[in-house]
């Protein structure tokens, strides 16, 4: 496979600025570019990279590191990760500088108060979308619901709940 590092970098810079809403929103677009438009890998290979990214700890966005790795090894992985996180991080840093400047402004408080409910609606909505995508059986929905209640009511470390889920998954019930 001979895709230049520069091309991998620039492509991910574009993804970085497109990814409003984060990595999960970007997934179909990644698939479109990597599989359909450029034919860099098959749909199955893409799915298996996604599975590895999900099984490993860390932000979901690191699927792009695996794409870079598949194309050009370790340098490809680094270039894709830097491209994906660089431009958006520079923008975010700039905005938070600006944000500090308006510390005393009533507009800043208006924006913060106005955005808070939307942020929370997005979190809850994305939880439902994730459940709909991942839960294929009634039992899996039940696990999601029980997790939500237990995690809200108790202060268990989420890692225990994830481990319990993995163990339950091994039984093949889900």
């Amino acid at each position: 496979m001979n895709v230049s590092l520069m091309r991998i970098f620039l492509l991910h810079c574009m993804f970085s600025l497109m990814a409003v809403g984060g990595a999960n929103v970007l997934l179909p677009e990644l698939h479109r570019h990597v599989v359909d438009l450029n034919g860099w890998m098959s749909s199955t290979e893409f799915a298996s990279l996604y599975a590895i990214a999900q099984a490993a700890p860390g932000p979901n966005v690191l699927i792009v590191s695996l794409i870079g790795w598949k194309l050009r090894g370790i340098p490809g992985a680094l270039v894709a990760t830097i491209g994906m996180c660089g431009p958006s991080s520079v923008l975010t840093y700039g905005v938070s500088l600006l944000w500090d400047r308006f510390k005393a402004s009533p507009w800043r408080r208006a924006i913060e108060q106005g955005l808070a409910p939307i942020t929370i609606g997005l979190v809850l909505g994305s939880g439902c979308l994730l459940a709909r995508a991942a839960d294929l059986t009634f039992a899996a929905y039940a696990v999601t619901a029980v997790t939500a209640v237990v995690a809200y009511r108790s202060r268990f470390n989420p890692l225990w709940l994830l481990a319990a889920g993995a163990a339950l998954g091994l039984t093949g019930l889900l």
Partner: protein, 186 residues
């Protein structure tokens, strides 16, 4: 109200985000909230919601944006770079090791089954985090309605996120502005 909160050192920023990266299975945000709000108390739930709001609104991976904003809040540019590097470094190394050693292991049935369990738990954690943040929100009619409307637009009506933001943000800011003008009294 802010003075009681500890300011993390650069080293603490590093270890905090390092642990968030290492523990984030199936989604990092619930772990991030737990670490920053409950364990280390760098932020309260309201501040976390503000930071997350900025992270969602701007392009790029949400948690990376959160690491930039939180790092900057405590230590400027050095803080941002430290937090982002700490967040990504360990997961990246683990991922590349896994990919190199077991390129095919995603196909193994045992791994698939474990993943189906993890991915059923992960949305539950996200929902619980949303409920916790909602419980700390100012209780007003408009805030409740906006939460519901945004939720419905995303989860039930499945509208594109950009459309939801394009409508939701101005509406939210208009209510927020009214609220500030009324002197922020309930």
């Amino acid at each position: 109200m802010d003075t009681a909160r500890p300011t993390p050192t650069l080293r603490e920023l590093f270890t905090g985000f390092f642990m968030i990266g290492l523990q984030g299975f199936g989604g990092v945000l619930p772990i991030a909230r737990r670490m920053m709000v409950e364990e280390r108390q760098w932020l309260d739930d309201k501040q976390f919601t503000e930071v997350l709001g900025l992270g969602q609104l701007l392009p790029g991976p949400n948690i990376v944006n959160v690491s930039i904003v939180v790092g900057k809040r405590f230590h400027g540019l050095a803080g941002s770079l430290t937090a982002m590097f700490a967040l990504l470094f360990a997961p990246l190394v683990i991922l590349l090791l896994l990919a190199t050693l077991y390129g095919q292991y995603g196909q193994l049935p045992a791994v698939r089954h474990m993943l189906s369990g993890v991915s059923a738990v992960a949305p539950g954690l996200v929902l619980a985090m949303g409920a916790r943040l909602a419980s700390k929100l100012d209780r007003r009619i408009w805030t409740g309605l906006l939460v519901l409307a945004t939720f419905a637009a995303i989860a039930l009506w499945r509208l594109p996120l950009l459309h939801v933001l394009a409508i939701g943000i101005p509406v939210g800011i208009a209510f927020g502005y009214q609220n500030v003008r009324r002197g922020e009294k309930p």
